[in-house]
């Protein structure tokens, strides 16, 4: 543990450099892209004087490197600017949209791990037999069906026809504003406030989109688990364990699983991080006000403050999830300590 703490300054430096690099690349690409942010603000009909005034107001008459310098200075002062699209501070926007994505991504990952890992193991243990075929079909469908389609059909069946789940959005319109915002994750906030009716309504809303996203995690995690496991099962220590008369369950769940744990954590962490970027299509179908849709809307409107702010969040999430999996390696693999 002490070693981990000694690495902290180095890690902080690495984080800062990563984020600065990310910002620089996003900033310059954003300025090179031929979308005129001024027109995005003033619209089609504005006369020249309005156009020029807004251009100056946005600082776009300054040289590029000056613009970037100003931006970084502001960020260091905790000032991320206003979003052009929402007319609100970017920090406030992200504080609203990120929890929505966090909620969705976390549920999806839980589903992905809870189903994906056992399915992958089953596929490996019964290689080429029917459990394996099922895992392969699930994986194939997960890779090939467009998520947009799956979302809309899911809505049609489970909301439209069966009425098992709540409709699009994070919460029914009549449940808005009942619980005070603490974390922004409605399920957590509702639980804190003890408003169980709100909690169950929010749960009814999150189930379907997270199941749709989770399905793709299941497909990915199951495939990776299966191949990791197959590799382990052909190792000599497995043969030795079996020869000692150890039960098959113990061989698989204790010995082999321990050895694929590190790889598995990497895969799960990556898949979680990817979901935390936000899933634009799923968010669109389910009217889910998350990070993916926020970032996409901002990009299309050349709303650079919002794009840069959201990029920092995505960058920080990736670094954070990597750090977390690093720590898990140390727990799971004695050699890494």
């Amino acid at each position: 543990m002490a070693a981990t703490f000694r690495q902290l300054p180095g890690f902080a430096l690495q984080l800062a450099l990563t984020l600065l690099g990310l910002l620089a690349v996003t900033f310059f690409i954003g300025r090179v892209v031929p979308i005129d942010p001024v027109l995005a603000v003033v619209g089609d009909q504005a006369p020249r004087d309005v156009y020029e005034a807004v251009r100056r107001e946005l600082g776009l008459d300054q040289p590029l490197w000056v613009q970037f310098g100003i931006y970084v200075r502001n960020v260091l002062a905790g000032e991320f600017g206003m979003s052009l699209v929402t007319g609100r501070p970017v920090v406030e926007d992200i504080a609203r949209v990120f929890p929505a994505t966090l909620e969705l991504a976390t549920f999806a990952t839980i589903i992905g791990v809870a189903l994906g890992v056992p399915m992958g193991i089953a596929g490996a243990v019964w290689q080429d037999r029917w459990p394996d075929q099922i895992v392969r079909v699930v994986g194939l469908v997960g890779y090939s069906v467009p998520i947009f389609w799956l979302g809309i059909v899911g809505l049609l069946v489970f909301y439209g026809i069966l009425g098992w789940v709540q409709g699009p959005g994070r919460l029914g319109v009549f449940f808005e504003d009942i619980v005070p915002t603490v974390t922004g994750v409605i399920l957590v906030d509702a639980a804190i406030a003890g408003e169980w009716e709100v909690f169950w309504n929010a749960f009814g809303h999150v189930v379907l989109p997270s199941a749709v996203l989770g399905y793709f995690s299941v497909a990915y995690i199951a495939r990776m688990t299966r191949s990791f496991m197959l590799e382990q099962l052909s190792q000599e220590y497995v043969v030795a364990a079996r020869a000692k008369g150890m039960s098959e369950a113990r061989v698989v769940w204790v010995h082999a699983l321990r050895n694929i744990a590190v790889q598995l954590v990497t895969v799960i962490a990556l898949s979680y991080a990817r979901l935390l970027e936000g899933a634009v299509l799923t968010e669109t179908v389910f009217a889910w006000p998350g990070l993916g849709r926020y970032l996409t809307t901002a990009l299309l409107a050349a709303d650079m403050n919002a794009v840069l702010g959201a990029t920092i969040v995505v960058g920080a999430v990736f670094v954070g999830v990597n750090l977390l999996s690093d720590l898990l390696y140390r727990l799971l693999d004695p050699r890494a300590r």
Binding site: V42, Q45, P47, R48, R88, I152, Y159, G167, V173
Partner: protein, 532 residues
């Protein structure tokens, strides 16, 4: 011609939905006193009525704020009613308008509305200087002169002096627009900051209208609560909730389930599937937005009027309205939208490829021509551009469609670097001058990328003079007559092919009546809505 718009084909989901019928009677219901609408509202940026400049903004703000004049919601065409201005007089020289302000009106805050609020509200758009301020500048009010030109002359009297004698109806119509909203000056000044309350008003309201904004989350939803003491009478429904639902198929599911009363942005496929369903009705409301394409006359090929005439003969007007965008538009060929003063119903152009070929031959292009058309990569412009590609080909015009993001094509259009440009144009306030100023006014030697005439190098000193005459004409009928003449000439020789006017097509539950998704006043109207 093309039967289905691309967008409907793109979403496999929409097609699937068309096949599946929902079980009847399983639907929920929204409360009797609440109107719930599923709509796309992500273009809603500003809630400050002196900052907002898009239709979604007007849909909220016209239901929240009052203006000096009102467009009568019960009439099919734009007819004026007194609003916060009970009456007005015009000075001898026609430049100074004196407005008598209605007494006894209270803001939602309880403050009484006086001439001080009105004067503050006419000056404020120029002082905060956001996009819509150009509408006030176009009648000679500026940041520097508002203290002199806008004067409070009594507790309930305000005088405004413009730079020239404008038609009274023009000024009245201008003051019905969102920018003409009267804000609670005391409340705004209490929250002013250094921006005259711009940031504050973008998230709060200081109004006197039918509803107040109870809640607003950008890209999510807004909720309006009824103002029980509105001077025009109490709205029927106590609450209006508009929820942002980006996907049309999702809006449709919400409506079928009865979780919303109105689905505002459906595709023609969705509408066709919903038609005839029990408890669901389809309704259409004309909007003040027209669809057109224009030719840059600065281009060597397009400077020849015969070529432009040929292009107008190569638009399949009926197919666009009936097959490509059924229910979303109706045929219209001039720049003043239907329901606005001076509208003309004549439609001189029709699809005639043989005539177009002949015209091109006369213009010296017997083997046809190649042209490019810039379009935003979104519905409906891109869809129409693709249809035009097909119909142009039948007359020997090879059209290359150049799609890009909206802001990108606009930049090119404003820099006059296009050959053909296809787009839509919305009326800013319900007066013919607004569109005439852009479609039929181009002062010589000007440099004004805000005007469509300028962007297309259309030099029209004579039409420009007539547009200015119409702008000043004090007699309403004479004024309408000038606009009709201008439009006849416009349809004949301009480099613009107007081919349709938009309408909002919504599906709603049948127990809802009186709701207007759009009106001649250019916004949604909620206060007349009622549920049975």
């Amino acid at each position: 011609m093309i039967r289905l718009p691309k967008r409907a084909l793109l979403s496999g989901g929409a097609a699937t939905l068309a096949l599946a019928a929902l079980p009847r009677g399983a639907a929920a219901q929204t409360p009797r006193n609440t109107l719930v609408i599923a709509a796309q509202i992500d273009d809603l940026v500003a809630l400050d009525p002196h900052h907002s400049f898009e239709v979604t903004g007007s849909d909220v703000l016209k239901n929240v704020y009052d203006q000096l004049f009102v467009i009568d919601e019960s009439k099919p065409t734009a007819e004026l009613l007194p609003g916060l201005a009970e009456s007005f007089t015009v000075s001898e020289d026609g430049r100074t308008f004196t407005f008598r302000i209605r007494q006894g009106v209270r803001f939602h805050s309880g403050n009484a509305l006086t001439a001080a609020d009105v004067a503050f509200s006419i000056r404020r758009p120029l002082l905060i200087n956001r996009t819509p301020a150009f509408m006030y500048r176009s009648v000679g009010l500026t940041r520097d002169n508002v203290e002199q030109t806008v004067r409070q002359t009594g507790e309930f009297e305000v005088q405004v002096t413009f730079d020239q004698a404008y038609a009274p109806s023009l000024i009245q119509n201008l003051f019905t627009a969102t920018i003409g909203s009267v804000v609670d000056s005391r409340l705004v000044q209490q929250n002013a900051g250094d921006d005259l309350g711009n940031a504050w008003l973008n998230r709060n309201s200081a109004a006197s209208g039918a509803y107040r904004i109870a809640r607003y989350q950008p890209n999510e939803s807004y909720t309006l609560e009824r103002n029980d003491s509105w001077w025009r009478g109490r709205a029927n429904l106590q609450r209006v909730i508009v929820r942002h639902v980006p996907e049309a198929a999702t809006q449709r599911l919400l409506l079928e389930r009865g979780d919303v009363d109105v689905a505002r942005n459906l595709t023609p496929t969705d509408i066709a599937a919903l038609r005839g369903r029990p408890n669901i009705a389809i309704a259409e409301f004309p909007r003040g937005t027209i669809q057109y394409f224009s030719a840059n006359m600065g281009d060597p090929i397009l400077s020849n009027p015969k070529v432009i005439e040929a292009l107008k003969q190569l638009v399949d007007y009926d197919a666009i309205a009936n097959n490509l965008l059924p229910g979303q538009v109706f045929p219209h060929q001039s720049f003043i939208p239907r329901a606005i003063l001076g509208e003309v119903d004549s439609r001189p152009w029709r699809f005639d490829p043989a005539r177009a070929r002949a015209l091109l031959a006369e213009a010296g292009h017997p083997n046809g021509i190649r042209l490019t058309m810039d379009t935003a990569n979104t519905f409906p412009s891109l869809d129409v551009a693709q249809a035009l590609q097909a119909s142009f080909a039948r007359g020997g015009v090879t059209l290359e469609v150049l799609p890009a993001t909206g802001a990108q094509v606009l930049a090119k259009f404003r820099a006059r670097n296009h050959q053909l440009f296809i787009g839509i144009w919305g009326l800013g306030y319900p007066d013919p001058h607004y569109n005439a100023d852009s479609f039929a006014h181009n002062p010589p030697g000007g440099n004004n990328p805000g005007k469509l005439t300028w962007r297309n190098n259309w030099n029209i000193p004579e039409l420009t003079a007539r547009t200015e005459a119409a702008m000043r004409e004090r007699d309403q009928n004479a004024r309408a007559a000038i606009y009709r003449q201008i439009q006849e000439e416009f349809m004949g020789t301009s480099p613009f092919a107007v081919f349709a006017q938009q309408q909002v097509q919504v599906a709603h539950r049948t127990n809802l009546t009186g709701y207007m998704a759009s009106s001649p006043g250019l916004s949604a109207v909620y206060w007349r809505a009622q549920k049975g």
